[in-house]
């Protein structure tokens, strides 16, 4: 399964890029599982995902909880709490 993963703000800074396209192991079925797997990819990824309480997620451009299932998602984004407005 091929997935576009986006990073914003300091999550992007730590990982060193804003977007990557990844082939996901079939065993990964939730946002939380995806974070576990991403954290193994590089020291930057590990740093970005070291405190999950600071990470918000969106699946196909909708805010979701970490427990949300990925089924069929094309785009997942990780970012700190938003600070617009």
């Amino acid at each position: 399964m091929s997935l576009t993963v986006l990073y914003f703000a300091w999550v992007k800074d730590k990982i060193g890029r804003g977007e990557e396209t990844l082939s996901l192991p079939a065993s990964i079925t939730t946002v939380s599982g995806l974070m576990d797997w991403l954290a193994t990819l590089s020291p930057g990824h590990a740093a970005a995902f070291s405190d999950r309480r600071m990470i918000k997620a969106a699946v196909d451009q909708q805010h979701v909880d970490h427990g949300t299932a990925l089924n069929g998602a094309r785009e997942v984004a990780f970012f700190p709490p938003v600070t617009g407005g």
Binding site: F8, A9, Q61, Q62, P81, T83
Partner: protein, 149 residues
């Protein structure tokens, strides 16, 4: 109307243009957020707003639809910038038009509270002490919670 844009905007001109679309409304409430040139004792030289294109517009559309379900509104406007801004440039303009001012005020405040906690934008400030991402405010979360139903 919803606009997410890099270019600066003129709040007064935008307010007038919005008002021209709602000549039958008794009242128009609006809010402008602008870049402050200080943070505590430090100086803010510039602010960079990163955003999630596509999702930003989507969240604003969802917020305005939600507001229209809660109050009797004749029109809504959200303009939000991204990119590099300098003090005291406007960051955001929200306006709501209604027959009754209570609806216009409530919708305007609701849009600001929710966009502060839902719109995918992130502020980075260039300070004397260096660049830093702005932390989310617990107060903003509390204010947004007021509207949960």
């Amino acid at each position: 109307m919803i606009r997410v844009q890099r270019e600066p905007f003129d709040p007064g001109a935008e307010l007038n243009a919005f008002m021209a679309t709602v000549p039958k409304s008794g009242g128009i409430a609006s809010f402008v957020g602008q870049v402050r040139d200080f943070k505590g004792d430090d100086t803010v030289h510039a602010m960079t707003l990163e955003h999630y294109p596509g999702m930003a517009e989507r969240e604003f559309a969802a917020l305005t639809e939600d507001a229209r379900g809660r109050w009797a509104l004749d029109g809504l406007l959200i303009i939000h910038r991204y990119g590099e801004l300098r003090p005291p440039e406007p960051i955001v303009l929200v306006a709501a038009a209604a027959a009754h001012r209570a609806d216009a005020f409530a919708a305007c405040e609701f849009l600001m509270d929710w966009l502060k906690t839902k719109a995918p934008f992130w502020k980075k400030e260039a300070l004397d002490s260096g660049e830093a991402w702005v932390a989310a405010s617990a107060d903003d979360d509390a204010r947004a919670d007021r509207w949960k139903k």
